[in-house]
């Protein structure tokens, strides 16, 4: 990653135009040529420095539901429970964290009522309590990762 890669990553985390030649417009703002920007973006995505380049959608506004859920899983059962939880297609992310509540996962469903059903299934299959922590309010963040 060189200075131009950093310039692209830091400068293009939002505001990409919706137009006939958006890469040409974005390249002009960055002071480079369209072809150079396209080459760099191909390489940055191939090298996984970018997860992707494009629209970031807001799941709830598409009509789906999201929640964050946590469980306290006994150490000896951790892998088995992780397998049961991960097998649910509604589980989008699952992280091990160093806390008594040691498994944290995000449920994403197209129908809001499905959240409670999946939580009930996980509780029945594992015999463990699932703490449902849906967001009540989201605060604006202006984060831009500095490359």
């Amino acid at each position: 990653m060189d200075a131009l890669d950093r310039h692209i990553i830091n400068g293009l985390q939002g505001g990409f135009p919706i137009s006939e030649r958006p890469y040409a417009e974005a390249a002009a703002d960055l002071g480079i040529e369209e072809a150079e920007l396209l080459d760099r973006l191909r390489r940055l995505t191939e090298d996984r420095l970018l997860s992707r380049f494009g629209p970031m959608y807001h799941a709830e506004r598409i009509g789906g539901a999201l929640t964050l859920a946590a469980m306290a899983v006994p150490e000896g059962r951790f892998e088995q429970v992780a397998e049961l939880v991960n097998a649910k297609p509604e589980v989008a992310h699952n992280y091990a964290r160093d806390h008594r509540l040691n498994m944290w996962f995000v449920l994403a469903t197209e129908k809001p009522e499905r959240i409670a059903e999946v939580i009930a299934d996980i509780e029945a299959e594992t015999g463990l309590a699932v703490h449902d922590m849906p967001k009540r309010q989201e605060f604006f963040v202006g984060l831009r990762f500095q490359a």
């Binding site: 006939e20 396209l38 420095l49 970031m56 992780a82 989008a92 994403a108 605060f139």
Partner: protein
């Protein structure tokens, strides 16, 4: 948003993993879907205006950029002040997500969640100390939960 129709959903499915890296990406998406390029652009603008699209651009892989430590800082703050406090914490440039969530007493007394990414745990701890200083006496207790392993990460995907 209830105003999304089948064509919007097809556009979402076609672009959620990224835009084509070609000079005219919206036309490429339109051709793939059998639509006019103007129609695709008009609908994307409407979704951006409605907040269905948060933003369009580069989505960095923060782990690959060297942000190896991910700390979920969780705070017990007075419920009555949480709107103001959350707005101030979210405005800090190192906080990537900030939410008000329900407590689950007695196991879980925390109602404000602020995700912090740093190059290592020391850096995360310094950032969390800045949040604590900002909250002052409103911080009635907090913890940092570091992630130790990603067990699953498929992201949110609509199916075609």
């Amino acid at each position: 948003m209830t105003g999304l129709d089948d064509i919007d959903r097809r556009i979402i499915v076609a672009t959620q993993a990224g835009l084509p890296l070609v000079a005219d990406p919206y036309r490429a998406v339109a051709e793939e879907l059998g639509l006019a390029a103007d129609e695709v652009m008009r609908r994307l603008r409407a979704m951006l205006d409605a907040g269905v699209i948060r933003r369009i651009g580069a989505v960095p892989n923060h782990y690959a950029l060297g942000y190896r430590a991910n700390g979920m800082s969780v705070w017990d703050v007075p419920e009555a002040d949480i709107g103001d406090l959350g707005a101030r914490v979210g405005a800090l440039d190192f906080v990537s997500h900030c939410y008000h969530r329900p407590r689950h007493p007695p196991q879980w007394p925390y109602n404000l969640f602020a995700m912090v990414h740093g190059r290592d745990r020391d850096e995360v701890a310094r950032m969390v100390a800045r949040i604590a200083a900002l909250l002052g006496p409103a911080d009635r207790g907090h913890e940092i939960l570091y992630s130790t392993r990603i067990l699953k990460k498929t992201g949110l995907r609509l199916v075609a």
